[in-house]
Symmetry: C2
Subunit: 342 residues, 2 copies
DNA sequence: TTGTAGGCGTTATCAG
DNA sequence: CTGATAACGCCTACAA
């Protein structure tokens, strides 16, 4: 009852190994009728190709590229760490990965990096970048060159990316809103909202989801307009400090972006620390410590390890034209509090 | 710069392929000095064996067994579903799995099932069962027979299991406690606690963790003694209904066990439904619906898909004497609320 | 358009 | 004790 091999297919179809192989890999030079005969045989005996054997034979080495910003936000660092870890154990699945970094907020440099890539030495690209027209073009070029592409963390829905590896950020914002509402309780108060940038799609979506839930279920809470930090820590500290001084009604702070260091720094020694409910995104060194110290109440996060492994799996599958197991590739919106911090 | 192969090792050590293979697989019949020479060569040129090629050559088929109770709790069903799904895509990694079911609460039958297993036709066993002396013995026998074993969901710490696939249940209980405390807020009230059985290790640990957090951080909340349901839904409905009638101070309910159907049934049309904070464990059809309907506030859960895949990966690794990537095998304590329900 | 033969990295079966 | 040599399932020149 061993599973059928190419030999079985060849015998069943009355052709040779090579012909079966040509059909399997959709190579030219086979008569239409023969193709049909082979496919019928494959169907009939239930053949399914052994990918590992195929990769062994063709000495396949998947060359994958991660494209990341050099944003000062710690989140990108955790992503880098996750990639490094995945890399170390990646010989096992014939995968080599390199990381390309582009200056944050410089789409031009990003595009230049993308231009340097081509199908010869790259089997897949995972991109974490904002969607701009130039980026769209660069992705279109790569696609037309036959390179599989996945968007990482922040989706690029209007491009030809094959897949998005990350969470639904509207739902993530809704989750943060739900927790904020529940934690603040009946008493209410106002909530200050910090975003990195209104250009970043994930930030905007989270804010949107947050507002939805607040409007639907927690009317007693007033949500203030977004404060844009542009990842400038000094400015953020000043803005937050001032805001807290002017608005004694603020009971909660929602940090939407990828970095929360400035916020945590201000709050750590603040007199209103105890009475403030703090919710942020992404588990990093900073948010971890803040949770542990009872400074932060919850973090809405995504497992970077899972994201990286998923991106690689999906790219390998796309590169081979295989299907992906969707359930395994779904990235969860994780809620982390003091007690389930790993 | 391709990675070195056995041929390279053979050449470097001045021996033949066969000898290298004997050393690699620790087979007898090689002079001590030769072994050392080969190992030195391996070390020197940084050889690492290609597992896929090895498996191809030995036509390896991993035969794995899951041992599960036929408990009426829906959680076990979700676990079964996850196994079924993993099975369907498991040809890819040469893994065949079968499931053995034993009558819930019948360690004798369980032991009988375990006795039927042996190293000839099983390469690994994943067990979800309570730890009893007989079970300990059965596991010891399997181990001495050389069969890798992992404990699933509920640990078997006093056995010779190679690994535990599941969450830290004390931390899971603490997480539930933290959420209960936060959700109830300053007002306080009492909390009713339902456990399946005080025999089940995971139940006991969760209750312990819950109590710890309540005592540490939420003194205004009174936690009532555990009510044992023994997975009897009729009895549970009666107990809960009565309790709610007698204690108007009850503001929250913590369902520790794997099943929450009876509880949800009682609450769904209860007059105090709105004012009650409900926290349970495990994402199932029942708890899913309850979250969606705003009946339940949070579920502390574990990803059954991840658990199953992890168990299989670990068993394969143990079976080959390979190391495991711990970060990938860590099962998270997930918090699921209405908004991050997938 | 099709087939034959050899190779990918490893294991296993023979002799020597 | 050690070494050729033929598999494993698939791919790929090169021939036919």
């Amino acid at each position: 009852m061993a599973r059928p091999t190419v030999n079985d297919v060849a015998r069943a179809a009355g052709v040779s190994l090579a012909t079966v192989d040509r059909v399997l890999n959709a190579r030219a030079g086979v008569r239409e009728k023969t193709v049909e005969r082979v496919n019928a045989a494959i169907e009939q005996i239930g053949y399914v190709r052994d990918v590992t054997a195929a990769n062994l034979a063709r000495q396949r080495l998947y060359q994958m590229v991660f494209v990341l910003p050099d944003a000062p936000a710690l989140f990108v660092d955790t992503l880098r760490d996750a990639i490094a870890e995945a890399t170390s154990s990646s010989l096992a699945d014939r995968t080599e990965v390199r990381i390309i970094t582009f200056p944050n907020g410089n789409p031009h440099a990003l595009v230049k990096s993308l231009r340097a890539l081509n199908a010869d030495d790259t089997d897949g690209v995972a991109i974490f970048a904002p969607e701009t027209p130039h980026v769209r073009d660069a992705i279109a070029r790569l696609k037309s060159d036959g390179v599989p592409i996945v968007a990482l963390v922040s989706d690029l829905p209007n491009t030809e990316r094959d897949h998005f590896v990350g969470i639904d950020n509207i739902a993530a914002g809704r989750t943060a809103g739900f927790l904020m509402g529940k934690f603040l309780g009946k008493t209410g108060g106002s909530v200050m909202v910090l975003v990195s940038s209104m250009q970043a799609r994930d930030n905007v979506e989270r804010r949107l989801g947050f507002d939805q839930v607040m409007a639907e279920s927690f009317r007693q809470i007033e949500v203030l307009p977004s404060i844009e930090t542009h990842d400038d820590e000094g400015a953020t500290e000043r803005l937050v400090t001032e805001m807290l001084r002017n608005r004694p009604d603020i009971a909660g702070i929602y940090s939407v972006g990828h970095g929360s260091r400035a916020l945590v720094d201000v709050l750590r020694d603040h007199e209103r620390r105890e009475s403030m409910t703090l919710i942020a995104h992404e588990l990093t060194k900073i948010t971890r410590e803040a949770l542990r110290d009872n400074l932060m109440d919850a973090v809405v996060s995504q497992d970077v390890g899972h994201i990286v492994r998923s991106a690689l799996r999906v790219l390998r599958a796309k590169s081979d034209g295989r299907d992906i197991v969707h359930s395994q590739e779904r990235i969860r919106i994780e809620i982390v509090v003091r007690e389930n911090l790993i």
